[in-house]
């Protein structure tokens, strides 16, 4: 235990840790902020894992075709949205159970990605690093925040844009009302399932971009285990944040930092049991869900399907 504390103490002064934590956080923010929109509209969307993987795979395919990271990003976004469209139409047009659809989609995307990755030879894909002058020289966090491959910077406009979308537009008001009280929304003329589908498309878009970020700006190539449950951690981050965008991002930061620590501690020669390290973020996620689940308000119709005339 003392070795663990010692390790954390030493690493807290290294900017490598902050860089890694920032990278892992950004991925979670892409995933969780999109998921937050879907949950605001009443869908507990567990196909988020599949959307991330589809995005990651789409980005290497796009990059392979054209050699351009921008095309990779576009293909990734498209791939994320395609997964979202299956989820949306099956669960909010045909009203199939959203968990069943999500689970099947995760299996499908994982199977497809593994199948294609094993069948075709796919090379590495990276995006160029963009350095922001002056700011990148800040101590500790300079490299972490301001000398990143360019897809990382997309997260800065994304978060305020989603906030504006949900809290300052007519669409956002309708989406929130659909997540709180679908019957009332329906009576006032809002197409409940249409708003929910659109919210899922937003999740697909941000997760697709997140997947592209994971490949282009973080790992540099595709493996089928690349997402490795982070989509589910993002789900926990939304609950941690009590369905507020601010809290969700804070949750992403905490989970991202923990994961970075788990990578950094053994890499710096400290012998802390890897089990403690690799399970910490899930244990913390579990504790977070436990502590924050009842205290704050979830969208009242979360995970409840809407069929006009029922309930």
């Amino acid at each position: 235990m003392s070795e663990l504390l010692d390790a954390i103490g030493t690493l807290a002064g290294s900017d490598a840790l902050y860089t890694s934590a920032f990278q892992l956080t950004v991925l979670l923010v892409f995933a969780a902020s999109g998921e937050w929109v879907a949950e605001k509209a009443g869908t507990l969307n567990i196909s988020i894992e599949g959307m991330l993987l589809a995005g990651a795979f789409g980005s290497v395919v796009g990059h392979e075709w054209t050699g351009s990271a921008i095309v990779g990003l576009v293909v990734a976004a498209w791939a994320g949205v395609s997964v979202a469209s299956i989820q949306a139409n099956l669960s909010h047009r045909l009203t199939a159970n959203q968990f069943v659809v999500g689970l099947a989609l995760n299996v499908l995307v994982l199977g497809l990605a593994a199948f294609f990755a094993n069948s075709f030879d796919i090379g590495p894909a990276t995006a160029a690093v963009v350095r922001i002058p002056v700011l990148q020289d800040l101590p500790l966090v300079g490299t972490a925040l301001f000398a990143r491959p360019w897809p990382a910077y997309l997260v800065y406009p994304l978060v305020p844009a989603l906030w504006w979308l949900v809290y300052r537009t007519r669409w956002g008001l309708e989406a929130r009302s659909v997540g709180e009280d679908p019957q009332a929304a329906d009576v006032s003329g809002i197409d409940v399932n249409e708003r929910r589908r659109q919210a899922i498309y937003v999740t697909g878009l941000t997760c697709g971009i997140g997947g592209a970020f994971l490949v282009l700006a973080q790992v540099g190539s595709f493996q089928t285990s690349i997402v490795n449950g982070r989509g589910f951690v993002a789900l926990a981050a939304v609950i941690f944040g009590g369905w507020t965008l601010r809290g969700t991002i804070l949750g992403c930061g905490i989970f991202g930092f923990l994961e970075a620590l788990a990578f950094a501690i053994p890499a710096n020669g400290y012998s802390v049991d890897p089990v403690i390290l690799s399970s910490t973020r899930y244990v913390v996620a579990l504790l977070a869900v436990l502590i924050f689940a009842t205290r704050v308000r979830q969208p009242r119709a979360l995970a409840q399907p809407f069929v006009r005339g029922l309930t």
């Binding site: 968990f99 099947a104 199948f115 449950g229 926990a236 089990v275 690799s278 996620a285 009842t294 006009r308």
Partner: protein, 382 residues
Amino acid sequence: MAQIRTRPGVLMGRTASGDLGITAVLYVVSLGVALAISAGLVAMVGGSASAVFGALLDGSLRSPGAWGLTLTTAAPLLLVAVGTIVATRGGLVNIGQEGQVLMGACFAGYLAVRLGGPGWFVITMSLLFGALGGGLWAGIAAALRSWRDVPEVLTTLLLTFISFPLMTYGLRQQWLIADRDTERVNQINSGEQLPASAKLPDLRVFGNAIDSGFLIALVLAFVLAVLVGRSVLGARIDMLGFNPRAAQRFGVAAKPLSAVVLVGSGATAGAAGAVLLTGGAASDRLVFGFAGNFGWDGLLVALLARGRIAYAIPMAFVFAMLRTGSSFLASTGVDRKMTDVVQALLVLALLVPPAVIFVRNRRRSLRSDEVGVSTPTAAGAA
């Protein structure tokens, strides 16, 4: 946190009152689309769909001893599925079977190499201990649900991801599940080999070795089918699934019953892990990644069975066929991950027809409400 309720009707296939013909057409079309997509993918990587189909059949049924192995493989899938189906009927969404299977296997592996006595005793105790392991793991989610209304969807899932490193830890500790024989090469990160007496006996039928775990799964399926279909407890579970508030008014203790059902589904998953270890479907020592997606696949079987335990038996067999068949795919030059894709497509395809019919009936009944007709099925199908 308000409880997350699912509509069991959709999950379990509220029988549609629509025409049988349309239902059949919908099933044929959606399964056809799924298979056509699969064939298209095979063609895309330069394989031949008929060769793949032939190889799958060879591996799962036609080659010597194949169907015995397929039945052996179906046993853990069925065990996972039956418990999950009961949970689904009670409105609980347990999706952490993979971790529960793993914990079951670890518990069984711990006991099987330590317990002395006659073989049948060791096997029985190992299976029960496995069930205990799975039940305890699901019990954490059940406790969180009862105590704080934490949705079990998320907790069971997170627990699965905790179970993987936990097992890795156990595989390094000799007082847990690591091999105690330090002389053996590659003894690190692997469990102790089960003595032959602790293995489930095989049934020999026409030259096929069928694991007796399959019989256990069938018996449990039968018992649970009677339980949910014919007992007061089963009726209470169903009531809980359809409307927890109404169930509470009728005197069903909603919270304890949910917890029991969730733990029970974990226990059958744990038993599946024990069968996996003591039977012939996986290796006879614990290794990393031992659960080998049996939990996830068993969950899919349960979801496809739509609340009917009887349906889970053929579904488990089909999934086992895809598993055993996939080992023969190498000769066709098509990657074996193809079978994962086929499985997922089948799940999605089987999801569509009942949903379409549900929506269709719903629309009709709304329309007839508007014109003041009270019967939900309007005459004259469009």
